[in-house]
Symmetry: D2
Subunit: 342 residues, 4 copies
């Protein structure tokens, strides 16, 4: 493909699971190439030592995060760093002229007070925060196109927002009475071993965690707020852990403002997402397996007594992280939105 445009990608924080997933997708992307893997480690590892599956495919040694050195080689930096660390590195990358897609939460919450409250630290890069675009293409595509800094959405918020916003925009539901029970595979917890995610502690068990105090609760609310006619949204969010690798299943309970039929609900979804390449509206109940290793969000709904129950399913590592980031990259660089995501 000699004449075609190729986006040159630097992955920053290359030893994270989200980096691995991004690498997997980019290795197949016909119009992108990985030009640098940067990490904070010393000494720098070869990436196939960290992820043996990359043997023979990408045997590159990681390098320090040096924005000036990346300037000439890369068009975009994918930041796979933890929240709090990302905002230490984004400013220099942006200053060096790279566009940045940040996987962390650092640029998702516009209100610094929210950030301080939920992340227990002061935001150190308010300037870039002010122009960062929340990377949910289904609702912010135009702004993403021209953004220099995209805040890639959290996995739970992506799944929840896609299942709620159309009904909220249609004025069908009470934004102050939203309940989201979500269940996630364990890859979402990252690569660092912890007692809670030690195999014998995580296998063959199911549990809720951070009930009422998970940081994604406020992110869901802030993502919904622009579509609330009066006041703000109020979401009760309860995440759970499922002993499996991937997938997020959100069971969303919404209060219709007046009686509504399932047909109407499904039509609202169908209309909202008719041109969307990655949203599938399905009559049947979805499974996380149906979207595993794809960038799809599968949506279905039921009306049960006085509630609309929306079922929204994504792969937390794809539409909830790396696939979403590549979709955003495709938009930012004028590529076909599905490029590399088939």
């Amino acid at each position: 493909m000699p004449d075609e445009k190729r986006v040159r990608v630097a992955i920053i924080g290359a030893t994270a699971y989200t980096s691995r997933e991004t690498i997997r997708w980019l290795l197949r992307h016909p119009q992108a190439e990985i030009v640098a893997l940067c990490s904070r480690r010393d000494p720098q590892p070869r990436i196939d030592e960290i992820f043996p599956e990359l043997a023979g495919r990408l045997e590159v040694r990681c390098e320090p995060i040096a924005p000036p050195a990346l300037k000439a080689r890369a068009d975009v930096a994918m930041l796979c760093l933890p929240s709090g660390v990302a905002m230490e590195h984004a400013p220099a990358l942006l200053a060096a002229g790279l566009r940045v897609i940040d996987f962390s939460a650092d640029y998702r919450l516009k209100e610094r007070a929210d950030y301080r409250q939920w992340y227990n630290r002061t935001h150190t890069d308010p300037e870039n925060l002010s122009h960062a675009v929340y990377g949910l293409p289904e609702f912010h595509r135009a702004k993403i196109r021209s953004a220099s800094l995209v805040a890639n959405p959290g996995c739970y918020p992506a799944s929840a927002a896609l299942g709620i916003i159309p009904l909220l925009k249609a004025g069908l539901i009470d934004p102050q009475d939203v309940i989201v029970d979500a269940a996630s595979g364990i890859s979402g917890a990252g690569r660092r071993p912890t007692p809670e995610h030690h195999f014998p502690e995580r296998n063959e068990t199911f549990e809720a965690y951070q009930v009422g105090n998970h940081r994604h609760m406020v992110e869901i609310e802030r993502t919904l707020d622009p579509y609330v006619r009066r006041g703000k949204s109020s979401v009760v969010f309860t995440p759970h852990l499922v002993p499996m690798q991937r997938g997020i299943f959100s069971t969303i309970h919404l209060k219709p403002l007046q009686p509504v039929s399932l047909e109407h609900v499904m039509q609202v979804f169908a209309d909202a997402y008719q041109d969307e390449p990655f949203i599938r509206i399905r009559p049947a109940l979805p499974r996380t397996a149906d979207v595993a290793r794809t960038n799809f969000c599968d949506l279905s709904a039921r009306v049960v007594k006085s509630r609309i129950v929306v079922l929204s399913v994504i792969d937390n590592m794809v539409k909830g992280a790396s696939g979403q980031a590549i979709q955003n990259m495709n938009i930012m660089f004028g590529l076909e939105e599905k490029a590399g995501l088939a």
Copy 2:
């Protein structure tokens, strides 16, 4: 233990998973013995052919279900038959003088109209239905003691009811706005292979099923109704499947009638269950692993915005089936309630 009373148990429907679990527990019960395993199969299998783990422990051949022949040998029949089949066999067993603990749904719903609506058939044993006792010891212990027929609760209803009734009795919550999202291990689906529970289809996936039309929804409501001051309860119940063997996790969203503190909620639970041998009120969030292979129900709660979120966890095969049945048996026969359930 020569002088002690020993309850003689016949298990009917001996090749079911609930039978296997009941056998496991009874083999260790110091005051009970298995005197017959009855099945509808022809030819009758040896039970260790069906469940190889029983080799060398219970190598008994199953026999037909013949109530008169059981009369002299057994005190109680544990009915591990499917709903619809149980009520074909219970009358003769009761007539033969055995006490009956029924694992099916046949005697759980007092209103025959409910049964017809949710189970799509006419109840054929209204006489015994009228005096059957719902076997939730924490709320019906006295009636269980003298019951000849106990309807062992469904797994989801047991988990949900234990997390809701105390708050309902205390008048703290709106009985018309109850949301139960529950997740179950796969043993609850029974032993018959189906496409949905074929290992490659069930492993590494999470999904909701029978959203808004699961039969346990009405059972939960009917279990709550006696504690509703005016009218009836209304429950939105959504079950999910987790790729693991055992356990039910219920995330219950309740609407306080007025603002309430977590301390108050926990105190209500503590008071309600202070003498209960199998209910553990826990400040920390429970996991299904904490109750696996025990008869415990672990309860915790959080107050999130305008909701009480109750987390109620049981082993679906124990407190949700066989352990519950043995607890009921112990009560019925005057044994120590924890006998055989340590």
Copy 3:
């Protein structure tokens, strides 16, 4: 890619797991297209009803297996039918001018006596059997190129043969003392639900099956035999089941004819596979996860006392089935061998 050659593929037996896997890969293959999905079902299903993950991607209705009708539309038929059924359909497909890649065992064993002994039936298509080529590209590439009928290797034999043949060719080991203990994920068992693969029976357990009488034992031997200098090979093959979706791990015990160093063993592998795109020789011990969803075979070895222990790992659905078939297709049609398999 308007000018490029595109191979037109008909998948026969489209509702099998191997078909699903083949579809997944072909949807991404830049030089292949799926032109027909054929099944023996009546009525014919839409493929996304069978595999919901294909919603929005391949919403094609299956059609009957009608070779004349496929003639003008397809270049190659991928036969995902069971052994015994494949040879009923291959002759007509070949007669219609299609090239055929058969996933079943029907054309793998050249000796009809072997087939009769191990598959308990008479081979009904000896003519095509006589010219069928065993599709292990690493050792039969030239013949595959011109073959009209390729017998795609069994998953266990592919994994075992790749780990043994180089050492056999090098004259290092005793062909009469080969022990292969292999462990497989459950997708290998196919889509039909059975008691043994019911989730609660298969989860959280490990077992050997068909010890000494698995049909792949003879296939391994026949694949090794051409490299045996005198007589035939003798393999003791024991397959095991692992509670996971994918992957085959073969632990192969070989008897060196004279003392040998690990370095020498590794060098033999390195030499044998130096130009192979899908074989990775690795110093570290491989995991099935390292090759999951790839067409790689990862090989390592250790010398332990008087044995060479070879560890050979593939994804049973990819290098053990669909990926192998596509690699064969690429060779047959003159495409780049890795096309669509990145």
Copy 4:
């Protein structure tokens, strides 16, 4: 049970998985009681903080390891400490008059040279090592009865030895050509989180580890050696990891000295174990699930070409650790051997 003898048990190293398993069994043991839980932690935790499943059952705070203080309270110490640490504590416990059952490897290898070679340290308690008894009751029952110090066998060696010794004693097999491929659940790896056992790294994968250099290889050999007529045994041992909680499956390849029938092999096993309460000889192939949470070892065999293939299955946490220890305790204290192990 007021008049009955009760063995008083102190568990040393109480926060280990083997301690948890021992506690589970002892809580049900009719003639044993847990009198102390000792740990090296500071501050000492309450055991139900470490293992929430113990809430309401054993809410005891751990205490330092102080042998003199245990003297009056305990009859036996179960040492659940790591190898190397156990021999630091055993001497004082023995000196205080307690009998000791050690779960570590410290007293399993009689030759200090073996210990130094395989455990990379000098044995510091040769005196007690000299009289320690290897706790495999099926072959050392008499010595266990009077032992003050029992070395509880390793999980892999227990499984392997039980499947080999009878055939070795019968003179049927070549002791220099033994191959053991074993697969274990992950609980065997202990409670400390590591990168290799982080859930996303361990789930959905299968692998061999420590091929040819696992410490249990020499333990298997030393356990077989007494039954070798001339020279010593030679075992090629390859352990594997299965993504499940519990269970060890050993596939053992033995070389008959002369042709042998399966019937003869099975008869040798039947004779050897006819009075053993925990060995089940089974014609059908065993599964780890059949012995999960039991103290059974299930054995089967096949004759394949010129090999005997023995399949030996235990629960690594029970017959491979805690159940074995309790069986040893029962023998040491004159209790019924199956007491508490039903």
